[in-house]
């Protein structure tokens, strides 16, 4: 797991429920807005369908690194906070690092203790969708490099 993400998870794990919520809110407030050049990607194709709130993910491949951008409403701080964890912890990671993220990442961040087991579905959706988009973007990138060769 990328060190940046590992660090965030460590920090979250070291807290009780109340502190974890505070941390999550801090993360949610820190999530940078989508850059203007990507603002038009707030569309259905970039929306996470598993989330009730409008959550948008944009993935770019830059050399061997993944650039990650996201938007989620501040009125849904839990999901926005989780998205912010992914952006802060994974922006600049390699494709390989993202595709091999453990499938229990949501549990490792301690979200079930905040949300209860019932409502972590949307977060799994965010993680699954992000992996899928990274895989797709990497494939498109590889194909375009093949063509260029």
């Amino acid at each position: 797991m990328p060190a940046a993400l590992d660090e965030i998870i460590e920090e979250l794990r070291d807290t009780d429920r109340q502190e974890r919520i505070e941390l999550l809110i801090d993360m949610a407030k820190r999530l940078p807005p989508l850059p203007d050049r990507l603002a038009h990607f707030k569309d259905e194709a970039h929306r996470v369908p598993e989330c009730q709130s409008p959550v948008f993910l944009v993935v770019e491949i830059d050399g061997d690194r993944v650039r990650l951008f996201a938007d989620a409403p501040i009125e849904a701080p839990t999901v926005r906070g989780f998205v912010a964890i992914l952006v802060e912890g994974l922006d600049g990671a390699t494709v390989e690092e993202i595709l091999t993220l453990p499938s229990d990442l949501v549990e490792r961040t301690g979200m079930p203790e905040i949300l209860g087991m019932l409502r972590v579905r949307g977060l799994h959706g965010v993680l699954g969708r992000m992996k899928m988009m990274v895989a797709r973007a990497a494939a498109v990138d590889a194909a375009s490099r093949d063509r260029a060769n």
């Binding site: 919520i21 505070e22 999550l24 809110i25 949610a28 598993e50 009730q52 501040i74 009125e75 849904a76 701080p77 839990t78 999901v79 906070g81 905040i114 949300l115 209860g116 087991m117 019932l118 409502r119 579905r121 799994h124 959706g125 699954g128």
Partner: protein, 289 residues
């Protein structure tokens, strides 16, 4: 707006709440979908009651028991005669659910703040992140009449067989059976899609305006009585997926339209869609048994 709500006292405005912020007989309770929202800022003096971790039993699929409910109220500074006003996100979904749960234990004076969290915030009313520590109150559950407002699966089956009115408040795709469970998340899913035979589809959201407030009595009547032909004398069961959205419709029918007999089937689709051998209807037609 000619008609008025049947039990207008059950719905209070944001103005009313603001005027009663320091009223010792009133306790404001926030119940949200998003577990962190309360901590971002809430109505001054409001306590948080979580629908899942606080109102539900964590082992058995049920609500907390009487001693735990009493302890919860006591810690929240709610006495038997306290006016409890619920509000929350998602146009008061969970607020209605919490109100319904409080009614399971027979708490007398429960109300909803119209418009919920979003309207309070949009109007720029006071908010704080300060978490109140109420003085514990004595609380003793008096007379709980769960059977009057809660339906269990066998009762729902009998209800369906008798052809009595039922409302499915989920989205149209869930009703027709197009949407099953989410791939990969069996803990949230049902094995079959569709609806309980005879249930009419009225998505819960149709009862609210764009700002999250409830529609007028006339509009609600046109919806439930005009469109699907229900009558106040009907014995009605409402359900959704786990009983939260249907609490919202339950509140509308019971308090705003004044139907005396409305029950919420909290087992809802996560129970029915997993039960062996119960009948299910597919598609847009209500169907029948």
């Amino acid at each position: 707006m000619s008609g008025t709500y049947a039990r207008p006292e059950a719905l209070v405005s944001a103005d009313w709440v603001q005027e009663h912020l320091n009223d010792p007989k009133v306790r404001i309770v926030e119940t949200d979908e998003d577990a962190a929202l309360y901590h971002m800022g809430h109505i001054p003096g409001a306590v948080e009651i979580g629908w899942h971790l606080q109102l539900q039993d964590q082992l058995r699929r049920d609500y907390i028991d009487v001693p735990r409910f009493e302890a919860l109220c006591s810690a929240a500074g709610i006495a038997n005669d306290t006016t409890v006003v619920f509000y929350g996100d998602n146009a008061n979904w969970w607020a209605c659910y919490a109100l319904w749960a409080f009614q399971l234990f027979g708490h007398k004076d429960c109300r909803i703040m119209d418009g919920g969290y979003a309207l309070w915030k949009a109007e720029g009313r006071p908010m704080t992140t300060e978490i109140p520590s109420p003085t514990p109150t004595p609380y003793k559950v008096q007379k709980a009449d769960e059977a009057a407002i809660r339906a269990f699966r066998d009762e729902v089956l009998a209800h369906a067989k008798a052809g009595r009115p039922m409302i499915d408040v989920r989205s149209p795709d869930e009703y027709t059976g197009k949407k099953l469970h989410m791939e990969g998340y069996p803990q949230e899913g049902a094995l079959r899609g569709g609806h309980i035979p005879g249930a009419r589809s009225v998505p819960w959201k149709r009862a609210i305006n764009a700002d999250g407030t409830f529609k007028s009595a006339d509009e609600l009547q046109a919806l439930y009585e005009g469109e699907i032909g229900m009558k106040p004398s009907d014995d009605v069961v409402a359900y959704c997926r786990i009983g939260e959205r249907s609490s919202h419709t339950w509140f509308v029918l019971k308090y705003l339209l004044g139907y005396p007999k409305v029950r919420n089937y909290d087992g809802s689709w996560t129970e029915w869609g997993n039960l062996v051998r119960v009948p299910i209807a597919l598609g847009e037609e209500p169907g029948k048994i």
